[in-house]
């Protein structure tokens, strides 16, 4: 998924770290003025469920996210095994 997270810049490090732990790739960040920064990233959809709530708790409720489908990508082996198991 193509993801854009808009947060106050003091949370930049926390959020990029968190996105990376979700198999996300940070593509860039840019200033939005007034100490707001927008982070562009590619993150698998399966990691994004419940993210809005998580983002709000990480950013004192000030973070905002929009996402849209971008492309399909290869699922890593360990995740693929989990999917196969869950599908019987």
């Amino acid at each position: 998924m193509k993801v854009e997270v808009v947060v106050p810049d003091k949370f930049l490090g926390d959020i990029t770290g968190n996105l990376s732990s979700k198999r996300g790739q940070i593509e860039g960040t840019h200033e939005r003025g007034n100490n707001i920064v927008a982070i562009d990233a590619q993150v698998p959809l399966s990691e994004m469920f419940g993210y809005t709530t998580a983002l709000r708790s990480m950013t004192e409720g000030r973070g905002n996210i929009t996402m849209e489908f971008d492309h399909y990508a290869i699922v890593p082996q360990n995740v693929a095994e989990d999917i196969k198991k869950s599908r019987g």
Partner: protein, 617 residues
């Protein structure tokens, strides 16, 4: 019949803010002071006039933006009368579409802040939305009576996080439980609100202890105002006293040009300061003729066209909201930009090209309505009888077509499966979902090709929850919703081959199919025009027929392709649809009597499964 109100005495404005800043409470006060309601409806008691939907009253939040009309005479001049068209908007980001479309049709906005929290995330969001549509704004720092409230801190957060152009126009007298009134820095007077529900506005001298602060901040305020006016600027630097009337005029120009944002204060719940905000709306927010004329595209020529905001210009309006009303059917809310519209006349929907008859025109007071014969430029009203018009369509004079710029809505981000609880609900659910998605452009419905389940998408979990709830109450449909899911795909990343002989020759009519296939990932970068004749491809697969010398008769080849296609749709590894596979059928054999289409289809399917499984080991 001519218009009952001159255009310069009309104000179309919205109340926008973060969740729970007090937008609806403020609008309820406005309705009370303007004499529309005789009792103040409290949000926390579930009785607000503007929150009329059942869910709104239960949850104490605003979901749909409600439009209402009222009249206001400024406190300083009781003989004058202005018409207000007010739109109360929701604060939750899940209902962002409501804010977006309200801002599109408004001329000005009152941004409300919580005096304890100052600027909150949704205030930032709505502020940016208002920036997008260049809506002039004034700020109202509300809830100053609450413990922990601070005018100064909230004001600083506006400067830090929203705009440097904000400037104090008032000071509070006392804070938290000591809040008793406000100081007007323009007139240098103190105002107290007395009587039942604060209806009596009492003007007094500024209390001694606030005088120094008032002088200091007045200088700041005036400096900000004169920045946009050269004549006043000279006077200011020459140290001359500038007349209040001149300052007001200059401030009005500054606000309309989006260069100054005056900040007002008070507490809507404690009935402090609301009337002065209404005066400010009259004094500083634009009337329909103060904003630049609307532009659009002439559908015939494709050129830019302009409509002046006058009653004589050809009719042009933008439909910004649909609402299903239990009594009159579908209501189409529209903002008239130019000309006038009479009930019973025909309009052209320039977006779709349909001609439609406007049956009745209603002026809305949140959920009550008043029928009118004509609406004029600059007004907001609702029409009954438009069947083909949807949100952000342009309505115009058939003789003078124009297409106004559309409202842009965000794409939905969350999807859920939904299924009717009983067979009887199935059809009703389809109708309900269609109606709801017509009302709300950020709510989308589609059906999953693979599972045939209905998938609904929206802006957030609250959004979908409210819609499912509405479906239950308004359309009587019971439905189950599922967890959000990912639609994975399967594909191959390497080359593989397999052979399969499907045999059943144990007496009587037998089966015989024998195929050899090769698989490789499909290459998307090919020129479709130059494909060899033996290659058949679609979006997700490619089938190459390399059979030479009729080792498999040509009538069985389509069956082979079908075998591959069906296996791919079912998925091999985890049951998800397989895509991007190129399959070449290069050899095989047949039997004169026992071969059949089904035998070759099965043989290819088994060979395909085997070839894929080789790769996944």
């Amino acid at each position: 019949m001519s218009r009952d109100y001159p255009l310069d005495k009309v104000r179309n404005f919205g109340i926008i803010a973060h969740i729970d800043a007090g937008k609806t409470t403020t609008s309820e006060r406005v309705l009370f002071y303007t004499g529309v309601s005789h009792k103040i409806g409290e949000v926390h008691e579930g009785e607000a006039v503007m929150d009329w939907m059942e869910q709104e009253r239960e949850r104490g939040i605003t979901i749909t933006s409600a439009a209402t009309t009222c009249f206001w005479s400024p406190t300083y001049n009781k003989d004058d009368k202005f018409r207000f068209n007010i739109i109360d908007t929701p604060g939750h980001v899940d209902f962002t579409a409501e804010v977006e479309r309200s801002l599109k049709v408004l001329d000005g906005g009152v941004v409300v802040f919580d005096g304890v929290a100052g600027v909150e995330p949704q205030s930032e969001t709505v502020w940016r939305q208002a920036d997008k549509y260049k809506v002039p704004r004034i700020c109202f720092i509300n809830k100053l009576d609450r413990t922990g409230a601070s005018f100064e801190r909230s004001y600083q957060s506006i400067l830090d996080r929203l705009t440097k152009d904000a400037v104090r126009a008032q000071l509070p007298i006392g804070e938290e439980e000591n809040l008793v009134g406000v100081v007007d820095l323009m007139k240098m007077k103190a105002y107290y609100f007395e009587g039942n529900m604060g209806t009596d506005v009492i003007e007094k001298e500024i209390p001694e202890e606030l005088k120094a602060d008032a002088e200091k901040y007045r200088a700041e305020f005036i400096e900000k105002i004169v920045e946009n006016d050269d004549v006043l600027m000279e006077k200011f630097f020459a140290g001359e006293e500038i007349a209040v009337e001149d300052l007001k005029k200059a401030l009005r120009v500054g606000v309309i040009a989006n260069k100054v944002v005056p900040v007002f204060t008070g507490s809507a719940l404690k009935n402090t300061g609301v009337q002065l905000v209404l005066d400010a709306v009259v004094d500083y927010l634009p009337s329909p003729i103060d904003i630049p004329p609307i532009t659009g595209i002439d559908p015939k020529t494709g050129e830019e066209a302009i409509r002046e905001t006058t009653d004589e210009a050809p009719f042009a309006a933008l439909a910004f909201k649909l609402q299903t009303d239990p009594f009159v059917g579908q209501l189409t809310f529209f903002r008239v930009y130019s000309g006038k519209l009479e009930a019973g006349s025909y309009v052209l929907n320039a977006t779709t090209g349909d001609k439609e008859r406007v049956g009745r025109i209603l002026r809305m007071h949140s959920n009550d309505r008043e029928e009118v014969k004509v609406v004029y430029a600059g007004e907001i009203a609702a029409a009954v009888g438009l069947k083909k018009t949807i949100t952000s369509d342009t309505l115009c004079d058939p003789a003078h077509p124009i297409e106004l710029h559309k409202i842009e809505f965000a794409e939905p981000v969350i999807s859920l499966r939904i299924e009717p609880k009983t067979k009887a609900d199935q059809e009703k659910m389809g109708i309900a979902l269609r109606k709801l998605s017509e009302e709300d452009p950020t709510f989308k419905v589609k059906s999953d090709e693979e599972t045939l389940e209905t998938i609904i998408s929206g802006m957030g979990e609250l959004h979908l929850e409210v819609l499912v709830d509405r479906m239950k109450r308004e359309f009587n449909v019971e439905a189950n919703v599922g967890q959000p899911q990912v639609a994975y795909r399967e594909t191959i990343t390497g080359n593989s081959e397999a052979e399969y002989k499907y045999l059943k020759q144990s007496g009587g009519k037998g089966q015989y199919g024998h195929v050899k296939i090769r698989l490789k990932p499909m290459d998307h970068d090919v020129d479709l025009e130059k494909l060899p004749k033996n290659v058949k491809r679609d979006e997700t697969m490619e089938f190459i027929d390399s059979i030479k010398g009729g080792v498999i008769p040509s009538e069985y080849i389509p069956a082979c392709q079908k075998g591959v296609k069906e296996s791919m749709d079912r998925g091999i590894v985890a049951g998800y649809k397989m895509v991007d596979v190129s399959c070449e059928l290069y050899d095989g054999s047949y039997h004169d009597v026992d071969s059949s289409e089904i035998a070759f289809k099965l043989a290819t399917a088994y060979a395909f499964t085997e070839a894929v499984q080789k790769l996944s080991q």
